[in-house]
């Protein structure tokens, strides 16, 4: 094994033993690239030195944790996905008296609020409970705040329109200086909670699980773990929404789901 790869393995082991965050089964190319960029930006000479520092310097580890978790997201990212949710999935959810939605790996919350807006416009929000989870507490508290840079609103408005938005997007936030604050009402039915797809288990029976662009960072083994967790958490006929380049095709639970929307990664758990 290359010495560099040994250093990475040991460093990830150290993070797990010391802080409980388990990156050992993540896709390594991305982890390696991010670790080396952090190394270059620091005074440290090697990953071994970095390992030593993160063991004794919690503040240093916390900045590294932000490096290792990818938090790039948008409101109504992939508008056609949201349009498909609106036209193909909502009519089925509508038949339930109460709806539970889990946004796993919610990052800074953009997708959570997109979902809340969509449910609201379709008249389902009042009987929905949304669980928004992430393993990274710093990013989770950002999600809870629901304050986004005002510069992003142009892009989000355009996404919202393409996603079949029924109102004016500016109804959903208050602009203040360079920030846009999400309307309070969109938070009332959302519970933000710390949950790690690598180490934690089932916490409720869901009608819809949305986990977009999270599995791409996992290796096959970890992908199977997360997908099995989703499968267990969904009620019969529940929906699983993944990122546009993600798939359950080659996973252990491929047979438990059927793809219900052509061209979108929206599965339904078989009855």
């Amino acid at each position: 094994m290359e010495s560099e790869n040994i250093e990475i393995k040991l460093l990830l082991e150290a993070i797990y033993l010391k802080y409980g965050y388990d990156f050992r089964n993540y896709s390594m190319a991305s982890i390696k690239r991010r670790l080396f960029h952090r190394l270059l930006a620091s005074e440290l000479k090697s990953l071994s030195e970095m390992q030593n520092k993160l063991l004794y310097d919690t503040a240093f580890f916390e900045t590294m944790l932000l490096d290792l978790s990818i938090n790039v997201t948008e409101m109504f990212r992939d508008p056609l996905f949201y349009l498909a949710l609106r036209t193909k999935v909502i009519p089925i959810l509508e038949t339930y008296p109460f709806i539970k939605v889990w946004n796993a790996g919610c990052s800074s919350g953009e997708e959570v609020y997109s979902m809340a807006i969509l449910l609201k416009e379709e008249g389902l929000y009042q009987r929905t409970q949304i669980y928004a989870t992430d393993f990274n507490e710093v990013i989770l508290s950002k999600a809870k705040e629901g304050i986004f840079p005002i510069d992003c609103m142009k892009q989000y408005t355009s996404n919202y329109i393409k996603a079949g938005g029924k109102n004016s997007f500016s109804d959903y936030y208050t602009a203040k200086y360079d920030s846009a604050m999400i309307e309070r009402d969109l938070k009332t039915n959302v519970v933000f909670a710390d949950h790690n797809l690598v180490t934690d288990g089932v916490f409720g029976e869901m009608n819809l699980i949305m986990c977009r662009n999270v599995l791409i960072y996992f290796d096959k083994k970890l992908q199977n773990r997360a997908l099995n967790l989703f499968c267990e958490s969904l009620c019969h006929g529940g929906f699983l929404c993944l990122g546009s380049k993600e798939s359950i095709r080659f996973s252990e639970c491929a047979d438990n789901f059927e793809n219900v929307v052509e061209g979108q990664v929206i599965y339904r758990k078989k009855l």
Binding site: N5, S27, A29, V72, N213, K245
Partner: protein, 194 residues
């Protein structure tokens, strides 16, 4: 003049292009055989809404051109393209992985991201090619390919629609060949037909 040839130790070529890239790739691909045993991987800067390079190119050429899929095993005889709006990376076991992490050099997919991860895996059996483009993406990746023993080729900036990408690449690393598009096509063609 001595005829340029590529050693058959090379297993794969990674190609990066930006502005004017589709036309440049068309010129190069016109020289290439339909069947070969090596691997070609391409990153082109495209708008996130684009249908993707594979769709654009596969109408015109007979070789297998497909968008790289998450965890897909890399095979010989295939031209893989990066999906729009995702970084494309290569894992140690020669599978692809995708990422939506921050743009690198204002781009996603970024050429640097593919080149750096490809260099780590293919080392001295990798060829990196930088084509036309209006920024500096790819320079660091090409440098890494050179550092790990691979071969660096850059389109002659005087013949490129966007000359800053090739110029930056040449400024940053000791490139092996600076060539026009048809020379690059011929060189790859000879190598793929070995």
């Amino acid at each position: 003049m001595r005829k340029l040839e590529l050693d058959n130790k090379y297993e794969a070529v990674v190609i990066g292009a930006s502005v004017g890239g589709i036309e440049a790739l068309r010129v190069i691909f016109a020289f290439l055989p339909a069947a070969f045993k090596q691997t070609i991987i391409v990153v082109l800067h495209l708008s996130p809404q684009s249908s993707g390079l594979a769709q654009i190119l596969s109408r015109k050429f007979r070789m297998i051109i497909k968008e790289a899929e998450e965890k897909e095993k890399i095979k010989g005889g295939v031209v893989y393209t990066a999906p729009p709006n995702y970084h494309l990376m290569i894992e140690d076991d020669k599978t692809f992985s995708l990422s939506v992490s921050e743009q690198v050099n204002y781009a996603r997919p970024s050429i640097d991201v593919l080149f750096e991860t490809a260099a780590d895996v293919y080392r001295e059996s990798l060829i990196g090619i930088i084509l036309t483009g209006g920024n500096k993406d790819g320079s660091q990746g090409l440098k890494k390919i050179k550092e790990l023993g691979g071969l660096a080729i850059v389109q002659d900036p005087d013949t490129a629609e966007g000359d800053s990408m090739p110029r930056n690449a040449i400024a940053v690393s000791e490139v092996d060949h600076i060539l026009t598009l048809d020379k690059i096509g011929l060189l790859l063609s000879g190598w793929l037909r070995q």
